[in-house]
């Protein structure tokens, strides 16, 4: 009965490859997010979706493309992976984005290593 799940947990790949990370939440939340945590531990918002609609898109390279097939899923596809993409990627969800007071529920993270 995991609330927010991500797969895979670890991902090791070569530069130039294309990879996807999947995220699912079973909390019935309307809003989902992707964060990137770099080597200095900063958690930075990349994208947020509300009811399958993109609402926040930070300055992220076009190689990153989120896809939300339904409001319980938000997948992250990364094209032409680069060394600098190595990080831990966290998915999160919250009830709604209408007030900014909602708690975010996080997945376990996906550690991506680009060689």
């Amino acid at each position: 009965d995991t609330a927010v799940s991500q797969t895979p947990k670890y991902l090791v790949t070569q530069m130039g490859n294309d990879k996807s990370i999947k995220c699912e939440q079973n909390l019935g939340h309307d809003t989902m997010y992707w964060y990137k945590q770099d080597s200095k531990k900063f958690l930075k918002i990349m994208f947020s979706y509300n009811n399958k609609e993109l609402i926040i898109n930070e300055t992220v390279p076009n190689r990153f493309s989120p896809k939300s097939p339904d409001k319980a899923h938000l997948n992250l596809h990364i094209n032409s992976l680069e060394l600098g993409d190595s990080a831990v990627y966290f998915c999160a969800s919250s009830q709604a984005e209408t007030s900014g007071t909602d708690t975010q529920y996080f997945g376990p993270g996906t550690r991506l290593t680009v060689l």
Partner: protein, 115 residues
């Protein structure tokens, strides 16, 4: 632009010592403030949050935080730490930006409590 500063990156305490972790933010408007915690091997989870009312908020496991608007601060405190409080603590600010609410996280403070 929003930013969040956590002054201590690493803190080492003995059990029963008192804890205060600093958090300062910069943002001119109304903010919602959060502390999240990540215990070893676990997901990031909410410790406490503030969005209105009494500026002294109490969270789980005996933690509290005080919002001081004039100082743009939201410091986390616990009078007597336990070994099980060993974790990474993240301060976060959620505020309305162009396009919607956005959460900015601090770099985190790693707390180690010696038994």
């Amino acid at each position: 632009a929003q930013s969040v500063s956590q002054h201590n990156h690493h803190v080492i305490l003995s059990e029963a010592a008192s804890l205060e972790l600093g958090c300062n933010y910069s943002y001119g408007g109304t903010v919602n403030l959060f502390w999240y915690v990540q215990y070893p091997g676990q997901h990031l989870q909410l410790l406490l949050k503030y969005f209105s009312g009494d500026p002294l908020v109490k969270g789980i496991k005996g933690f509290e935080a005080e919002f001081i608007k004039s100082k743009f601060s939201f410091n986390l405190r616990k009078p007597s730490v336990q070994w099980s409080d060993t974790a990474e603590y993240f301060c976060a600010v959620n505020a309305l930006n162009t396009g919607g609410f956005k959460t900015i996280f601090g770099a985190g403070t790693r707390l180690f409590v010696k038994a």
